[in-house]
C-alpha cells in the first residue's frame, strides 16, 4: 500500500507537468486548429533560460525562494517572447495556406529549436543547480514527498487556476473563446484576431516555460532534446482529455503521469514510453473526441 501511494504521489507530480505542457497544445489547437509541434522545445528553452538565469543571479550558490521565483519569471517572459517571435515569423505567414503547410512549418520550427539549441547550448547535458534546497516531508505510512514535488504541484495548480481565470473572466479570454468558435464572426464583432492569436501563443509558451523550470528543479539533467518526449506525451495527454478543451488537458496530463509511473513501477520501465501511445490508440478507438471533448456537431 505504501508503495502504491508513493507511486501515486510521483505520478501526480509528473502528471501536473504534462498538464502544464498540454495546456499550451490545447489552447493553440482550440484557436488555430494547429498542432504546435515546437511546443515541447519551448519547454526545453524554459529549462535552459532558467539554467542561465540561475547562473547570472547566483541562485546556484546561495539558493533562496525569491531568486527562484525571479528565475521562474525570467524564464516565462523569455519563452513568451520566443513564442511571440515564432508566431509572428513562422506561423503568421502561412496562416492563410492549407493546414498541412502550417503543420509542416511547426515541425520545421521544432527541428530548428532542437538543433539550434544543440549549437548554442552544446550537446552534452547540463545540470540544473539546486535553486531550492531539497527536503523530504513524510506524509505518513512511509510515503514521502519532497518540497520540490510540492512546489511543482502548487505552482502548476496556481498557473492552471490563473489560466482559467484569464479565459473565463477577462476580456482577452472572452475574445479567445470567440475566436475559437469562428475567426470571421469574431473579426466582425471587432475582435483583432491576430492579436488574440499572438496572445494565445505567448500564454501557452509561458506555461511550457514554467513546466520546463519545474521539471529541471526535480530532474536536473537538461539537454537540447529533452523536450521531444515530454512534448509528444503532453500532446497525447491533450488528445486524451479532448483537444481544444482546457480542463480536458489537465485531466489528460494527470492520467498520463499516473499511468506512466504505475507502468514503470509494476510492469517494466521499457513500457514507459509505449503506454502513452497505447493510451492514444485506445482513446482514438473508443472516444475519438477525448475524455471531456465534445463530439463535433453535425452541420445540416
Amino acid at each position: 500500500m505504501t508503495e502504491f501511494l508513493q507511486q501515486l504521489v510521483n505520478g501526480i507530480t509528473w502528471g501536473s507537468v504534462y498538464a502544464l505542457i498540454a495546456l499550451g497544445y490545447t489552447m493553440v489547437y482550440g484557436i488555430l486548429r494547429l498542432i504546435n509541434f515546437a511546443h515541447g522545445d519551448i519547454y526545453m528553452l524554459g529549462a535552459f533560460f532558467a539554467f542561465y538565469a540561475a547562473r547570472l543571479t547566483g541562485a546556484a550558490v546561495e539558493p533562496n525562494p525569491f531568486k527562484a521565483t525571479g528565475i521562474l519569471l525570467i524564464s516565462m517572459v523569455g519563452c513568451g517572447l520566443v513564442g511571440f517571435l515564432i508566431e509572428r515569423f513562422a506561423y503568421k505567414p502561412v496562416r492563410k495556406s492549407s493546414r498541412l503547410a502550417a503543420l509542416i512549418t511547426a515541425i520545421g520550427v521544432s527541428l530548428l529549436l532542437e538543433n539550434g539549441g544543440q549549437l548554442i547550448f552544446g550537446a552534452d547535458p547540463k545540470f540544473f543547480p539546486q535553486i531550492i534546497t531539497a527536503t523530504n516531508i513524510p506524509l505518513g505510512m512511509g510515503v514521502t514527498i519532497s518540497n520540490q514535488q510540492i512546489i511543482i504541484l502548487v505552482v502548476s495548480l496556481a498557473l492552471m487556476a490563473g489560466l482559467r481565470f484569464v479565459v473565463l473572466h477577462t476580456r482577452a479570454g472572452k475574445a479567445m473563446r470567440a475566436v475559437s468558435y469562428s475567426h470571421t464572426a469574431a473579426a466582425l464583432m471587432g475582435i483583432s484576431v491576430d492579436r488574440i492569436i499572438t496572445f494565445t501563443f505567448v500564454l501557452g509558451s509561458m506555461l511550457a516555460a514554467a513546466a520546463g523550470v519545474l521539471v529541471a528543479l526535480q530532474n536536473p539533467k537538461i539537454e537540447p532534446y529533452m523536450g521531444i518526449m515530454p512534448g509528444l506525451k503532453a500532446f497525447v495527454a491533450a488528445v486524451l482529455g479532448g483537444i481544444g478543451n482546457i480542463p480536458g488537458a489537465v485531466l489528460g496530463g494527470l492520467v498520463m503521469g499516473v499511468a506512466e509511473v504505475m507502468v514503470v513501477g509494476y510492469l517494466s520501465p521499457t513500457w514507459r514510453d509505449a503506454i502513452a501511445f497505447v493510451l492514444l490508440i485506445l482513446i482514438l478507438l473508443v472516444r475519438p473526441s477525448g475524455l471531456l471533448g465534445q463530439p463535433p456537431a453535425e452541420k445540416v
Partner: protein, 402 residues
C-alpha cells in the same frame, strides 16, 4: 545575370583547385595516421573527452621525446565524434578506415559502441585498441581487437566480493540500464557472483539510458528493503539515481562499476553519493610514481584531475606507440607499409597484420593503470580497486586481485 554565373563558375573552379591541392598535399607528406573515435558530445560526453585528453598527453610526450615521430614518420591522430550513439560509431569508424586510411584505431569507452566499431576494424584488418570497454563480447569480435582494461565478469565478481565480504551484505537490489550492453552484462555477472558468495538479489529494476526520472523504480526497490542498490550504469544516471533515492528516503549505499568514473559524477550526485562505492581501474591517491608523473602532466595541461578513462587512453596510446617502435626495429621494411603513402596497397595490409601480431605480444607494459599483459584473448589482466565516496571526494578503499 551572365556575370553572376561567371562569378559562380570561377568560385567553383577555385574550390575544386583548392580541394585537389589539399588532396595532393595529404599524399606527399608521409606520416602515421591513427584514428580515434569517442563520444565527444552526448549523454556520456566525458568518456570521449577524457579519452581524447589522455591520448593528447601521450602525443605531447612523444613530441617532447622524439619530435612526435616513430621510425622517422610523424604521428597524427584523427579524432571523430560518435555523439555517444552506436550507429554513429559504425559510421565514423568506416570513415576513419576508408577516408583517413588509418593504420590503427583507438576507442571506444562504451562497450555498445566498441561492439559497433570493432567488426568494421576486424573486416578491414586494422588493429583496434579499446582503452576501457569492459564487456567480454568486445574482443570476441575478432583477433584485431584488443583492450587495456579488465572485463565485466571480473568486475562483477569484484563488486559482489566487496559487497559480500567487505560490506557483509546479504540482500541487494539491482537497477540496470536495459539499453546498454555494458550495464546488462555487468548486472548479470554481479548477480551470479553475489549468489555464489551466499547473497541474494531480491529485486531487479531497470531504466533506459537518457531517462531522468527513476522514482518509480526506486519506490519499488524501497518497498523490498535491500541493504544496498547496485547501479551498474553510467555516471549521469548514477548521479541522478543517487539524488532521487535520497529524496525518497532511501539511505542504503549505492554500488557501481567503472561506468561511474567521471568528474561529473559528484557534480550531478552531490552529497547524495556520500557513502557509496564503485569499482574502478585506478585510484588517484595511490603512490605509484608513473601515475603521479602522469597526474602532474595532466594537471599542467588541463587544469584538473584525470579520470581512469583518461589514464587507460594514455596507456592504450602508449602501447600502440611502443608496438610501432618495436615493428620499426624488428622489420623496418614492413614498417614502411604503414606510411600514409602506402594506403590501400598490399604492403599496408601486411604491415597492419604485423602490427597486430606485435600488439598481441604486449607483456608487462608498465602503464599508469597497472601492468598490462595481454592474454590469448587480447584482454588485459589487472586488479581492480574499489573507491569510496566520502565527503564529496573519491577515496581509495581496497584493491581486489583476480
Amino acid at each position: 545575370m551572365r556575370s553572376r554565373y561567371g562569378l559562380r563558375l570561377a568560385l567553383a573552379g577555385a574550390l575544386l583547385l583548392a580541394l585537389g591541392m589539399a588532396g595532393c598535399g595529404g599524399a606527399t607528406t608521409e606520416e602515421l595516421v591513427i584514428g580515434e573515435y569517442g563520444s565527444l558530445t552526448g549523454n556520456d560526453a566525458t568518456f570521449g573527452q577524457s579519452t581524447k585528453a589522455g591520448i593528447e598527453i601521450a602525443l605531447s610526450e612523444l613530441a617532447a621525446k622524439k619530435e612526435g615521430k616513430i621510425g622517422g614518420l610523424r604521428v597524427r591522430v584523427v579524432v571523430e565524434d560518435d555523439q555517444g550513439k552506436a550507429e554513429e560509431a559504425a559510421t565514423v569508424v568506416q570513415k576513419l578506415i576508408n577516408q583517413d586510411r588509418v593504420i590503427a584505431v583507438l576507442g571506444e569507452v562504451a562497450s555498445s559502441r566498441s561492439l559497433a566499431g570493432g567488426p568494421i576494424c576486424q573486416a578491414a584488418g586494422v588493429p583496434m585498441i579499446s582503452p576501457s570497454s569492459t564487456n567480454p563480447e568486445v574482443t570476441r569480435k575478432g583477433d584485431f581487437i584488443f583492450r587495456m582494461c579488465f572485463l565485466d565478469d571480473f568486475q562483477g565478481w569484484v563488486m559482489a566480493k566487496f559487497a559480500a565480504e567487505n560490506l557483509k551484505l546479504k540482500k541487494v537490489a539491482v537497477l540496470k540500464d536495459v539499453k546498454n550492453d555494458y550495464s546488462v552484462g555487468l548486472a548479470n555477472y554481479f548477480a551470479d557472483a553475489f549468489q555464489n558468495l551466499g547473497g541474494s538479489v531480491n529485486v531487479v529494476q531497470s531504466y533506459s539510458a537518457g531517462d531522468a526520472d527513476f522514482r518509480a523504480a526506486l519506490t519499488t526497490i524501497k518497498a523490498r528493503n535491500p541493504q544496498a542498490i547496485v547501479v551498474p550504469g553510467y555516471y549521469t544516471e548514477a548521479g541522478l539515481i543517487g539524488r532521487q533515492a535520497r529524496e525518497l528516503g532511501i539511505t542504503v549505499p549505492l554500488i557501481g562499476g567503472d561506468g561511474w568514473e567521471s568528474e561529473k559524477l559528484l557534480e550531478i550526485g552531490g552529497e547524495a553519493l556520500n557513502g557509496c562505492y564503485y569499482s574502478n581501474h585506478w585510484a588517484l591517491d595511490l603512490p605509484d610514481p608513473k601515475l603521479q608523473d602522469f597526474l602532474k602532466a595532466y594537471r599542467e595541461t588541463f587544469n584538473g584531475d584525470p579520470d581512469a578513462i583518461a589514464g587507460l587512453a594514455y596507456d592504450a596510446a602508449n602501447v600502440l606507440f611502443t608496438s610501432l617502435e618495436k615493428l620499426y626495429e624488428q622489420d623496418p621494411a614492413a614498417f614502411k607499409g604503414l606510411s600514409s603513402a602506402k594506403a590501400g596497397t598490399p604492403e599496408r595490409k601486411a604491415a597492419t597484420r604485423k602490427l597486430r601480431d606485435i600488439i598481441a605480444t604486449t607483456a608487462g607494459y608498465p602503464g599508469v593503470t597497472g601492468n598490462i599483459t595481454l592474454d590469448e584473448n587480447r584482454n588485459a589482466t589487472k586488479p581492480a580497486v574499489v573507491l569510496e565516496i566520502r565527503g564529496g571526494k573519491k577515496v581509495y578503499n581496497t584493491t581486489i586481485h583476480p
